[in-house]
């Protein structure tokens, strides 16, 4: 059995002549919580649809749970829980009926999981699906997705449009899922606070190109920010020379504030030779790091990959 829950190799998709996913190669380790990040329109949903065999790639291959995406049998599909952005539900069914209806498609259906998630989102089992709020619909979709106890959970922007209480319920449900040691969650999101809470790994898609695929810790440790102080406005350079790994640079009166990926001694040296009186490292939070990484001015040549060399998961203490 392969240790990857998802593998993609050079996945490429076009809409017309526009390339929407460009040679995407990544590995999602089994048992991980993996966040798939990127701005709107960067190709996340298209990638997910290719992984699930719902869209044929122009080039490249992928597999989920070790099976080629193009040939997913019903048995394999039953082990993959997929929640799309749209939460398609039969509007005229009640919450309870939705569960009963779905349960017939699965040999493995845990009614207790369904009931506990419905309860967690405070849904009335008699309420009609069509009359639920956005957050309640998400709760019902999640209950339907989780009740078959999938080995791999793929959630396409599950938190979109949720209020803070529903968002928290969603996160709690995701953490609950990790009780099954071998379960993998692959989810896309824009909510970096939530990602920081639950993700082991992140992949960042930027305008159809994968630019990072690594653990959250590696990502945080790789993005650094420095303030280079110059003595006066006359000594500060108006432009920065090319600096390896430069993601973002902003000039204020006597300082250059730069964000750099994986800096080396050379990088710092190149700031000093500009004539900076001092170079001070500033702390970076996860959101800063992400925005720096996706910012427009950055170099686009980085790829941090440590999913292959992962440390042990589910250390039981």
């Amino acid at each position: 059995m392969t240790s990857a829950a998802i593998e993609a190799n050079g996945l490429t998709a076009y809409f017309g002549s526009r390339k929407v996913v460009d040679e995407l190669t990544m590995v999602v380790p089994r048992g991980s919580v993996f966040a798939f990040l990127g701005r709107n329109g960067s190709g996340k949903t298209t990638t997910i649809r290719m992984l699930l065999g719902l869209l044929e790639p122009a080039r490249g291959t992928s597999s989920v749970l070790g099976v080629d995406s193009k040939h997913l049998s019903d048995d394999v599909r039953a082990r993959v829980g997929y929640m799309s952005e749209s939460h398609s539900l039969y509007e005229w069914m009640s919450v309870r009926q939705c569960g009963e209806f779905q349960s017939r498609f699965y040999s493995r259906w845990n009614g207790r999981v369904f009931d506990s998630i419905v309860g967690h989102f405070h849904l009335d089992p008699r309420a009609k699906a069509g009359q639920l709020s956005r957050g309640e619909r998400a709760g019902l979709s999640l209950a339907i997705t989780l009740a078959p106890e999938p080995d791999l959970l793929i959630l396409d922007d599950p938190a979109i449009g949720l209020d803070p209480v529903a968002r928290r319920s969603l996160l709690e449900s995701m953490i609950y899922v990790t009780r099954g040691a071998d379960r993998t969650i692959f989810f896309s999101s824009h909510l970096l606070d939530d990602v920081e809470r639950v993700a082991d790994y992140i992949a960042i898609l930027d305008r159809s190109v994968l630019r990072a695929c690594c653990s959250v810790d590696t990502f945080r440790a790789s993005v650094h920010r420095y303030a280079a102080h110059f003595g006066s406005a006359s000594t500060i350079p108006s432009q920065l020379p090319p600096i390896r790994g430069l993601l973002h640079g902003r000039r204020s009166a006597n300082d250059w504030l730069v964000t750099i990926a994986a800096p080396s001694n050379d990088t710092l040296e190149s700031l000093r030779v500009l004539g900076a009186a001092s170079v001070e490292e500033l702390p970076v939070d996860f959101t800063d790091a992400m925005i720096g990484y996706l910012g427009d001015r950055g170099e686009h040549a980085f790829f941090l990959d440590d999913t292959a060399a992962r440390d042990s998961f589910g250390v039981s203490v």
């Binding site: 953490i175 009780r179 970096l192 639950v198 082991d200 810790d217 970076v284 250390v315 203490v317």
Partner: protein, 141 residues
Amino acid sequence: MPLTISILTGSTLSIHRQIVEQVCAAVFSGRVKDDEPLPSVRALAEQLVINPNTVARAYAELAREGVLESRPGKGMFVSQRRQIYSARERARRMDQAVASLVSEGFMLGFSPDEVIEMVAAKMRHADSRKWSNPFHKGGAR
């Protein structure tokens, strides 16, 4: 007062680091007693709504550092505190901590006397029994 940990997202400290630091603070202030088990990985993860792997890694680091110890079948406990660092390593770590305190105090505009008084006040709050614990005796080499 039992162990209370609060997690801030969007902080410059990773969640992993926040757990390590808060457990350390709770242990050294005596808020967690020697024979009191810490919450299980799963329980703490669910309480804080964070990834259990993060908690497990933080506990593992605390165990490596000699702050906690794992008692098989019973969970994590405050370590009986055999000193695990060499004398030089202890001095290096303390020096680093003091240097960062001094520079923070300077940046925030406190006078040396004020900083010393603040440290003294904190010391008075720390559980004196813990302080007198022979932290530096035992297995150091």
